[in-house]
Each structure stands twice: as structure tokens, then as C-alpha cells.
């Protein structure tokens, strides 16, 4: 539980994750959390990016405080979330460290796919080097808890959470899976978010 006066790195990680994934913080980090995926992903991301991970959390915090006066994503407007995300991901024309932006993408992919895509070359304290672009499954729980499966209103391939015959019917709504109300999508992808030509020093 969060003390109103002390923001922990995990709090920042959860809110940053809610912002980039589009899933509610209560889905990513429920109050009763036996699987504790948030901790698994936090620890894994930090172990593969070190100080850049800390810088990412700071960048999120600063941007959120500046833009919305809070880090609580559920209380932000869509415009505020967009502005903060654009800043963190380096999509708004202001300067953002390329490694921080790339790590934010990797965090997003980790939640969605349960795999870690190494955002930049990194050597950890034990001397192990991780190559940019390399890919590894974080854990079996991270795989089956991946958000991509929820975004498609289903379950991980290899881990059904439903009963016989369910596939004959329509699934529950997308909102039920994400915990957030959903805007309708266009087939071209949003044109209001970021710019496709922003390439702030490619990290990979």
C-alpha cells in the first residue's frame, strides 16, 4: 500500500507502466498480488539497464509532476498522459536520452510479451554483457501474464483461463481486460501520438 507521502521506485514503475501500456495500475499491480509480476519485471529491467532504469523512473516522475502535478495516471487526462508519454519516449521534439527512451519501450514490451528486448548494449556488475536487440523470456509467469493476450481479449497461448466451449462465444469486453475505458481505434493507428519521424538518436 502506498503511503501518500513517500513515493517509492516501485510506485513510479507501476505508474510508468500503466501509462505506456494503457492498462490500469490496479491490473498491473493489484492490491493482492500472488504472482507479483511487477517485481519480477522491475528487477529484470533494472538488472539489464542499471542506472538508465533509475533515470527512466526519474524522467517519468519529473514529467508527470510537471504535466499533471501527480504521478497517479488514473487521475490524469488523456492529454496529460500523452504529453508525459511523448516526453519519456522522446517523441515530442524535446531532448530525451536515447537509452532512457529505448528502455521505456523495452519496459512496455516486457509487460506486453513477457520477453525482455535489450534496449542498448549493457554490461552488468558481474561482467555479463547483454547485446542490444537480444531477446529472452523473463519467466513463464511473465509470458502467461503478458498484456498482448489481454489486449486481444484472450489468454496466453498455452495458458487458458477459460472453460470448455468458451471459444464459441464472444469474449468479455476489452475494458474488462484492461481496467480502462477504451477509445475506438482507427485502422491507421493514432496520428495524434508522437511523430513517426522523431528519431532522437536511435538506441539500437
Amino acid at each position: 500500500m502506498r503511503d501518500a507521502n513517500t513515493t517509492t521506485p516501485m510506485d513510479l514503475f507501476i505508474q510508468l507502466s500503466a501509462l505506456v501500456t494503457g492498462f490500469s495500475a490496479t491490473k498491473l499491480a493489484p492490491g493482492l498480488d500472488p504472482v507479483n509480476l511487477k517485481k519480477a519485471l522491475f528487477d529484470f529491467a533494472q538488472s539489464r539497464t542499471g542506472a538508465v532504469f533509475d533515470a527512466l523512473l526519474v524522467a517519468f516522475q519529473q514529467s508527470a509532476e510537471a504535466e499533471a502535478g501527480t504521478i497517479d495516471v488514473s487521475s490524469m487526462s488523456a492529454e496529460q498522459r500523452q504529453a508525459i508519454g511523448n516526453r519519456v519516449l522522446g517523441l515530442d521534439g524535446a531532448s530525451q536520452d536515447a537509452q532512457v527512451a529505448a528502455t521505456a519501450q523495452s519496459v512496455n514490451k516486457a509487460w506486453y510479451l513477457g520477453s525482455w528486448y535489450q534496449p542498448f548494449d549493457y554490461t552488468d556488475g558481474a561482467g555479463t554483457t547483454y547485446e542490444a536487440g537480444s531477446q529472452v523470456v523473463i519467466s513463464s509467469q511473465a509470458y502467461i501474464g503478458g498484456l498482448a493476450w489481454k489486449a486481444m481479449q484472450s489468454h496466453a497461448m498455452g495458458n487458458s483461463t477459460f472453460t470448455f466451449g468458451y471459444w464459441a462465444s464472444e469474449p468479455p469486453s476489452l475494458e474488462a481486460f484492461t481496467g480502462n475505458p477504451q477509445p475506438t481505434a482507427t485502422t491507421q493507428g493514432s496520428t495524434t501520438q508522437g511523430s513517426t519521424t522523431q528519431n532522437q538518436g536511435s538506441a539500437s
Partner: protein, 674 residues
């Protein structure tokens, strides 16, 4: 072990081997099964954990060896990973004419592929065999499948007609536990030659419910019989009979399907049948012994031409660095080789004598057909987006197919096919959800529109990302056309040797690896043409869009290499496309790449996982390896079983027929043993 005499020695603990073992064991016969791979058949934790942690979820992903190093490993086998673009030899195809020239790097690919096209299907070498990763589809062959030569003047006739197999199909469906409604199947497919006997035959379990994908498709195509180039042939989406529990009833104590959408590579709850079920039953008789990690290396023949033993190696230790722990000879009265259609001919050829005698060409090979007529169902994958959500990625990987186009007069001209309707979105087609998710999270970074859904390389996050992914994934669907390949003697399994100046390549036990020669005939390739023409019309009727990419080449790090699993469209066939109505040339309906007239440059194919034909049955010893009882013409106490005995591959998945024929062989062997 060489002093224990068994009634029957069986090589291979797959579906055919275990069914025969169980049948004989229940009759009190002493059976020995030699299984090359490990026996992890009592639970699936190990395989499942390997699967969850594997970054690529290929059919082989749960099973050992996980990373192929075929020259070092005890039981390497063909895998999809063997055929990744990164393994294509840089000077392919020019290198094929060199003695050591293969399509794929021989350090990575177990099969030494001489081409001109690669054989694309794979198998497993573990107790339970390839049924660990089969789909579950349990279709019967059609009447004309057995009489292609007499009916259509192509391919070959089987040495028996469909009637001989009907009682065995019933038994196989009971053994595997197939879920279907015979009434529905007969209503929809009686006209193309599907048969049941007796007339009131019932499958063991209710049919698997159709998915939303199936009903969306059926709504638009069922009952239509005026598809261009398919005039007079009705189209119907039919539920697919499957070896997958749909009720907790009867002898099976396994769970009912929960729609894990993971049949390939592994059903997490064993709702899908696999041969470990039969293996357990066989062991439970008390008369069957399984020796795992025992690789058969030689079939021994006595001076009377009877099989006198099977020499095998036992191995232990890590796959990548195995230790040979012993050699022995298994002795029985009757011998059965059930090692699937690449390892069985490999064993028979390895057993050749180095003289000019009868066995100079291998055991059971007086016809010179062992290893020949290698067939697959080359798969034409066609994928697209539905206009409205159909919510794929749910249910079993497939629940229906279009079976009504499997037979007809056209079979004298071009290959027939069945259409497998996929429930897994674009998972097979492009590796989703990984590919599309990477496209939209990464935008211009790293990934570059591999899904074709992000041509502007938009980078998304938050609500917009959720919405865009939801929009894509819920509309994704695909068809797989299982195209009938013709038996060709030049498509064959040989052994690696130093002949012609090549380097001998062996596995980690020192045994020579298989060399594959393989191509697709015009008859088969023309089947792809008609598959594409059909697919376009399906997309048209659905109001959907075709996203099929028949990739002619791959470019990695500015190096471009030809896609081996691709063939160009014959010039002589361009007219099939140019003569289509204009609406069917719309690029939204055509595969790509195609020219302005919608003429495809060529076609890409995948393997269906069906390995067939390499020791075919026939009516005469001159041109077949076994007779209709699957007994070797050359050695009276040798039976060869499995899909290798099929003289033709037909249009149906082979496993049900493998099981039916195995049960027939078991009867014959019982009669032999008396």
C-alpha cells in the same frame, strides 16, 4: 539385453509403435520397444517449462534438443529452426551442385538438404513421438484417395480400397478419442467420398464447438457453389474431427479441452491425445518393456533373409555431448520399425551390407524404393484481416476446415487440397503477437513493419496502443491449404557419405545423417495457383483484406538471400490470373508480391508436419517396399509401419490413418505369432 528373447521388437515409441505394442501386450506377447530419445512421458512439467521459456514457439520448442547442433547430439532431428533464414547458406542456390553444398548450414540443420527445394516438415525423437506436437486433426481419407491412378490417371493406387480401412478407422477413433459428429460429417462430406460403416456409426465424443472465426467464415461461404474456377463444387465450413477430449466420458480420464490454443507445440493439460497415453497402456499390460535412449543402428538379416536382430546403442548424458553407454542386439520373432518416415528409411539404409549382395542397397530394399517418394503437404498459408472482430487466438488451434474441395474431376489436372481454418490469428503466419506488438511499440526503432500493419512506422503507447493492437489481433485469421504432393522417386532420403567427394556428416553417435532431395511437381504447384484463386474470393466475400506475403527473398544486414521455400509462378500459368474478373485482381484481395494484373511472382510454402511415403505399400514387390499388410516383401518377419507406408499423401492429415493401419498390422502380427 541380448539374451532376452522377445516375441516382437519395435523400433520407435510413437503412435504406431505404441499401438502395436499395446495390442500385442494385451494378448500376452512379450514386446520390446526401443526408443531413440528420452522418456519424459509421465508428466509434462519439463517440456512445458522449456516451451514457456523458449523465445520462439515453434513445434519443436518444448522438446530436446532445444538448440540444434546435429553433429554433436544424440538424437537430433528436423526442426523449423533448422530452416530459419539465418541458416540459409549464403551462396544458395548455386552451391547445391557442389558435393558439400546444401540449402541450410549443415552445422545447424540436421537434414542435409540438397534441394532444389527444402523439405519443410519436422518431427520429434522422444517417447510418445511426434504426437506430442501434432495438431489433433483426425480426418479419414476419402474414397478416391485410394484410387488416384484408376480414377484420375495420376499418382498411384493403394493396394486396398477404403472399405478395408473402415473398421480400423472406427477403432483408431476410439483409441485416440476423436470428437466429431458422424452425422454432420456425412451430411457435408458424403458427396466427396467420406465413408462410415456401419451406417449408424458414432464418434466417441461430441464435436468440438466451432469458433467465432469459423462462424464468420461459414456465414459468407457456406453453400456457395459458384466460386470462379470452382464451378459446381460446393463450399462448406465443416467441424474438424479431432483427437481432443470434448467430454469427460468413456475410458479417457484426461481432461476436456480448455482452449489453450497451444495444441502445437504441446497441450498443457493433455486434452489432446498423444501416444504417451497408449505407451502407458502398453506398459501397464506387464508384457511390454521400453528401453529409452536406445538408438537402433542396424537391422540384422540372417542367411534366410529373415531379420535376426536389431543392433542398438544406448546413450546417456547431455544431448550435446552424449556418452555411448553400451551396444546390444534386440532379438525377437517379429520386428517392427516405427521410427517415422525419415528415421525408418535411414535405419534401413544404414543396414546395407558393403558387398554386392541382396542387401547392398539396404534392408527391405529390393525395390530400390526405400527412402523414395518422400512427400509432405506443402502448406499454402493465406492470411488476412476480417472486417469485424472474430477474436482469434481462442480455442483449439483449429476447429474447422473446408473439406468439400478435396475431390473432383480436377484431380486429374492439379493437386487437390483441404483448407484448414486457423484460430490463432497471425501467430503461425508472422509470429504474432510478438511481431505486431514490436511494430507498434517500436515504431521506427528496430522493427520495421514486419506485420505490414504499420506502414508509416507509427510509434504508439497507452490507450492508442491498446486500441490499435486490439483492432489488429481481433480481426486476424488465416487459412492453410494442405496441398497434395505427388509421389516422385527423385524426392528421397539418402545417407550422408563420401560419395562424389562429399564430407561424411554424422550425428553425435557417429551415425550418418539423412540427405534429402526434394522438389514439388507441376501438379502440386498448380494446386497453389488454385488455392490463391480460391483465397481471393473468400476475402472478397468476407469483405476482408488479404495480407499474404509470398516472400521471395530475405535481407538481413544488407545481405539478400533467396527464400528456399519459394517457387516462381510458371509463365504458362500466368493466364489463370490474367483471366480472372477484374475484381479479383484488386491488390487488397491478392497475395503479394503480385504485378499490376494481380499475377503473383511466386508462392511460399511451409511444411504441414506430414512426412510420408518413404517405404510405400503396393501391389507388387517390384515397385513397393511393403505389401498391404505392411509386411516387407523381402523379409517375412519385418513390418514397417507409420506414414512411410502411404503410397500417396492424399489431402488429409495422416495420423488417423497411421493409427488405423497400425491396428491392422497388429492383427497380422498376432496371426504370425499364433
Amino acid at each position: 539385453m541380448s539374451d532376452t528373447t522377445y516375441d516382437v521388437v519395435i523400433v520407435g515409441a510413437g503412435i504406431a509403435g505404441t499401438l502395436i505394442a499395446r495390442e500385442l501386450g494385451q494378448q500376452g506377447k512379450r514386446v520390446l520397444i526401443l526408443e531413440a530419445g528420452i522418456d519424459a512421458s509421465r508428466g509434462r512439467e519439463r517440456y512445458l517449462e522449456t516451451f514457456y521459456k523458449n523465445t520462439v514457439k515453434t513445434p519443436e520448442s518444448p522438446y530436446p534438443p532445444v538448440v540444434e547442433k546435429p553433429s554433436a547430439q544424440a538424437t537430433p532431428r528436423a526442426t523449423i529452426a533448422d530452416t530459419f533464414a539465418s541458416n540459409i547458406e549464403p551462396d544458395f542456390p548455386g552451391n547445391l551442385s557442389e558435393p558439400d553444398g546444401y540449402i541450410y548450414d549443415p552445422e545447424k540443420s540436421y537434414l542435409l538438404q540438397k534441394g532444389p527445394l527444402p523439405f519443410a516438415s519436422t518431427y520429434e525423437r522422444v517417447a510418445g513421438g511426434t504426437t506430442w506436437h501434432w495438431l489433433g486433426t483426425s480426418l479419414r481419407f476419402l474414397e478416391h484417395d485410394f484410387t488416384m491412378r484408376s480414377t484420375y490417371c495420376v499418382e498411384k493406387d493403394w493396394p486396398m480400397g477404403i472399405d478395408a480401412l473402415l473398421p480400423y478407422y472406427n477403432r483408431a477413433e476410439a483409441e485416440i478419442g476423436v470428437a466429431a459428429s458422424a452425422q454432420v460429417q456425412e451430411e457435408e462430406l458424403g458427396s466427396v467420398g467420406l465413408r462410415y460403416a456401419p451406417p449408424d456409426y458414432q464418434y466417441p465424443m461430441q464435436q468440438i464447438p466451432l469458433s467465432q472465426v469459423d462462424t464468420a467464415l461459414g456465414d459468407k461461404v457456406n453453400g456457395i457453389d459458384d466460386f470462379v474456377d470452382f464451378e459446381g463444387l460446393g463450399v462448406q465450413v465443416t467441424p474438424t474431427p479431432a483427437g481432443r477430449n470434448s467430454q469427460s466420458i468413456g475410458a479417457s480420464s484426461r481432461r476436456t479441452c480448455a482452449g489453450n490454443t497451444n495444441c502445437i507445440p504441446i497441450c498443457p493439460i493433455q486434452a489432446k491425445y498423444d501416444a504417451t497415453v497408449t505407451l502407458s497402456q502398453a506398459l501397464q499390460t506387464g508384457h511390454v518393456t521400453l528401453i529409452s535412449q536406445a538408438v537402433a543402428k542396424r537391422v540384422c538379416v540372417d542367411e534366410n533373409g529373415r531379420i535376426s536382430g536389431i543392433e542398438y546403442l544406448t546413450w546417456d548424458g547431455p544431448q550435446d555431448a552424449p556418452t555411448i553407454t553400451g551396444t546390444a542386439t534386440a532379438v525377437g520373432k517379429v520386428y517392427v520399425i516405427a521410427a517415422h518416415a525419415i528415421e525408418t528409411p535411414r535405419l534401413l539404409l544404414m543396414s546395407r551390407t558393403h558387398d554386392q549382395g541382396a542387401l547392398a542397397n539396404g534392408v527391405a530394399n529390393s525395390s530400390d524404393q526405400v527412402g523414395r517418394n518422400l512427400m509432405d503437404h506443402p502448406l499454402y498459408l493465406s492470411w488476412g484481416l476480417m472486417p469485424e472482430p472474430v477474436w482469434g487466438f481462442r480455442g483449439p488451434l483449429t476447429t474447422s476446415g473446408i473439406e468439400t474441395l478435396r475431390d473432383g474431376a480436377f484431380r486429374s489436372q492439379r493437386a487437390a487440397w483441404r483448407v484448414e481454418v486457423g484460430n490463432e490469428g497471425w501467430n503461425f503466419s508472422i509470429g504474432d503477437p510478438w511481431t505486431t506488438t514490436n511494430d507498434f511499440i517500436g515504431g521506427p526503432h528496430g522493427a520495421s513493419n514486419n506485420s505490414q500493419l504499420n506502414p508509416e512506422n507509427v510509434q504508439l503507447f497507452g490507450d492508442a496502443l491498446v486500441a490499435r493492437l486490439n483492432h489488429a489481433f481481433t480481426r486476424q485469421w488465416r487459412m492453410g491449404f494442405l496441398v497434395e504432393q505427388t509421389p516422385e522417386p527423385g524426392n528421397r532420403v539418402c545417407l550422408s557419405s563420401t560419395r562424389g567427394g562429399a564430407t561424411l556428416r554424422t550425428d553425435g553417435l557417429g551415425l550418418p545423417r539423412p540427405v534429402i532431395h526434394y522438389d514439388l511437381s507441376d501438379y502440386t504447384k498448380l494446386g497453389f495457383v488454385f488455392a490463391e484463386i480460391f483465397a481471393r474470393q473468400v476475402y472478397q466475400k468476407l469483405g476482408g483484406r488479404n495480407y499474404t506475403l509470398n516472400t521471395p527473398s530475405f535481407t538481413t544486414d544488407s545481405v539478400t538471400v533467396q527464400n528456399p521455400k519459394w517457387f516462381a509462378l510458371e509463365d504458362a500459368w500466368r493466364h489463370y490470373f490474367t483471366e480472372l474478373p477484374a475484381a479479383l485482381k484488386d491488390p487488397r484481395l491478392t497475395c503479394q508480391p503480385a504485378d499490376a494484373e494481380g499475377v503473383p511472382e511466386g508462392f511460399q510454402y511451409f511444411g504441414s508436419g506430414h512426412i510420408v511415403g518413404t517405404y510405400a505399400m503396393g501391389a507388387s514387390a517390384a515397385d513397393s517396399v511393403v505389401d498391404r499388410d505392411q509386411r516387407s516383401w523381402d523379409h517375412a518377419n519385418l513390418f514397417l509401419v507409420g506414414s512411410g507406408v502411404f503410397p500417396t499423401i492424399t489431402t488429409a492429415n495422416p495420423t488417423l490413418t497411421i493409427a488405423a493401419l497400425a491396428l491392422q498390422a497388429a492383427e497380422t502380427i498376432m496371426q504370425d505369432l499364433g
